[in-house]
Symmetry: none
Subunit: 414 residues, 2 copies
């Protein structure tokens, strides 16, 4: 079954609200094994909603319209569907009951314009809406299925899940499911990832799709099958093949983050962590402490913006600062070692760099960052050169620091 979705609402075209129904619908249809090939957003305009329905019915078997079911003159989806199919609008008892019940329950008088919500295209069935006045519309006509759902997200979501999807089972819904698994990758760029898996990108079922975020690449493996198990058995060999090539960079799957994955290892191994930050200004500590239970392994952090603070709290030697500058591999190492000793932890991380926009030079440009890690006295330093704005450089620096931590944990705990 192939679907198209039409979202009505001038406020979406003006950017006054974000169309969250689209993402919800996408996930639910995917889970039900229905392919959604297009989404269209149009304003509250009879001609354009009708045209969108006309175009969609030429391509798809299932046409879903969100919004335009209310009582006002801007609400035109019922009229547009009736016009597109050449059907009259007739009053439906269940839809009328949906409106009157709503006002009765609130002991409010119903204004007459509300009764337009009881009019459905001839042959359509009302879909119950416990959260609002407007019933939904379900219509099979000349081999195609049309569904009109209310626009407010709470009403849309409940009606989709409880009313529409069950009615689509006779048409094949849920017989085929779409299963996605995401591999999360750090420490390597998007094009290098793609180069490594280039020959796997053409497969059809499962499909493989790369997506780049700052400091992170994800690979999404998607399979369609009759059951969750069958879909998993399609993605599993693909995942094995990818892990053989990129295993050193795949730090997690699905909703994993670098901070959740490293946190779980630290907690399981009873290891403790302290961090010393200069250019990242507390972002690394913030990310580490976003994980519930992080107080078990994260004992403290220092944001040492000034040289004085680096000397006083981390024991960085003034001579090293003078000779090599605050942004140097030596200072990154000294910060990692200093914070580990001061706080008394197994692991210390030090970050020093230039987040910009000021402070850069030809020799040490904005984006230059040194990261140090001290794992029970064994120190390693990594050099990075990031592009972007201040906040982006901060973010990428913490990605790199957490990747360094993850890799150290893997190596040290082998």
């Amino acid at each position: 079954m192939q679907a198209e979705a039409i979202f009505t609402g001038t406020e979406m075209l003006l950017g006054q609200i974000v169309n969250t129904n689209a993402a919800f619908l996408g996930r639910e249809l995917a889970a039900a094994g229905i392919c959604l090939y297009r989404q269209v957003v149009v304003g509250d305009n009879l001609v354009r909603i009708r045209e969108a329905i006309d175009n969609a019915r030429r391509r798809a078997d299932l046409i879903i319209v969100s919004g335009g079911l209310g009582p006002t003159e801007d609400d035109l989806s019922r009229e547009a569907l009736a016009a597109a199919l050449g059907l009259p609008l007739v009053e439906d008892p269940a839809a009328r009951e949906n409106v009157t019940r709503y006002f009765a329950a609130r002991r409010r008088p119903m204004t007459p314009n509300n009764l337009k919500q009881a009019l459905l295209p001839a042959g359509a069935r009302a879909m119950d809406n416990p959260h609002g006045t407007a019933a939904g519309v379900f219509l099979e006509h000349e081999g195609k299925v049309y569904a009109l759902l209310p626009g407010p997200p709470r009403e849309f979501e409940a009606m989709l899940v409880n009313q529409l999807l069950p009615r689509l089972e006779p048409y094949g819904a849920r017989r085929e499911i779409i299963f996605s698994r995401v591999l999360k990758i750090a420490g390597i760029g998007e094009s290098a990832v793609e180069e490594a898996v280039k020959d796997l990108l053409h497969s059809d079922n499962p499909t493989l799709a790369p997506l780049a975020k700052p400091g992170e690449v994800t690979l999404r493996l998607t399979a369609r099958a009759k059951s969750q198990e069958a879909a998993r058995s399609l993605t599993a060999p693909l995942e094995v093949a990818i892990r053989e090539r990129l295993g050193d960079y795949i730090f997690g799957t699905d909703d994993d983050t670098l901070e959740s994955v490293t946190g779980a290892i630290l907690a399981a191994r009873h290891l403790t962590l302290a961090v010393a930050e200069s250019c990242t200004g507390g972002l690394l500590a913030h990310r580490v402490t976003n994980i519930p239970g992080s107080s078990d392994y994260f004992l403290g952090g220092m944001v040492t913006y000034s040289n004085e603070a680096k000397v006083k709290f981390l024991g960085v030697e003034p001579e090293v600062l003078a000779a090599r500058g605050a942004v140097s591999p030596e200072v990154a190492a000294a910060m990692a070692r200093g914070v580990r000793q001061a706080v008394g932890t197994d692991i210390g991380i030090g970050i020093t760099g230039i987040a910009g926009p000021g402070g850069g030079s030809e020799e040490k440009p904005v984006g230059l960052v040194y990261l140090g890690i001290d794992f029970r006295g064994q120190v390693e330093v990594r050099r990075e050169l990031f592009m972007g704005q201040r906040e982006n450089i901060k973010w990428q620096s913490t990605q790199s620091a957490l990747y360094l931590l993850w890799r150290s944990l893997r190596e040290q705990l082998k």
Copy 2:
């Protein structure tokens, strides 16, 4: 000028990401006086992207495509536009420069697949992308304008505002403008704000719209007029009326944040700041250091998650911790005082609380937070009880701390 927008990306159809570019585009086009009549979302599929372009060019004068400009084989927007218009793809020096510059700046080798980003439909001009590898595409062809923009929101937004909209001025963009001014409010809840301005909410031009975010309320004043000046003269009297009622809570306007506003005062008055954080885990230092130039006034931060760290680095007395507990007004005050003295600043801030989900009790529930500020020895403590998840409680705590700082600066510098 009538526009249609096409967003490409299978991940949007599957509901894995929300299409935030759509709302941003809608607002920017509305402000430029360009009517956006349709948005279409299609997957990474050459036939369907081409079909969407074909349909759009029959109805609109301006066709904007978002996404599909990267180096991978899923990136098909250039190919689809060339195919729709029957144009060959030719290498463009500016687009090639955009890719090579990106890799050169990172001192990373460029994989060959990246060079496909240098290919544009014949006759097109590249639009510069300082944030990524893919240049945008601008093409006038048979009386219609086509624009291809990269999908990542940061790249999309910058290119739309800095590259595309200026190029649309000859076609009539920006003749009627929409001017918005935002008043930013903290330290008071949404319903109290709404109550205070209730009688002003019904005006038509300018309009007034409240919006609540965690720890912040914004009031948006919007006017439409022929010129920026005419629009400003519509919003100015409304702003005066609002400031008379809510002046003690309006900390800024438009893109101001609590950290930018307090940072500007600290810099102007040559005051210095240090922070000591427990439950916020570094988020306050991170926000303070997001401001360029913050190294002039922010000298250091401590994330003292453990009691030991509070004693060792901040001089909190073990007896106070034992008697009152770590989450107490006494400890918040001692942290503020301790970090001010340890780092040697004019102002110290201390935060202690329970971010959850664990660690709460009947007496001290999750969300209980104490904030202390020490302004040259004068100490003030504020108690808060926040609702929400861990990250939300962390965020609201830093909002409250920064509001406390803003109010102290206003009072102390009167």
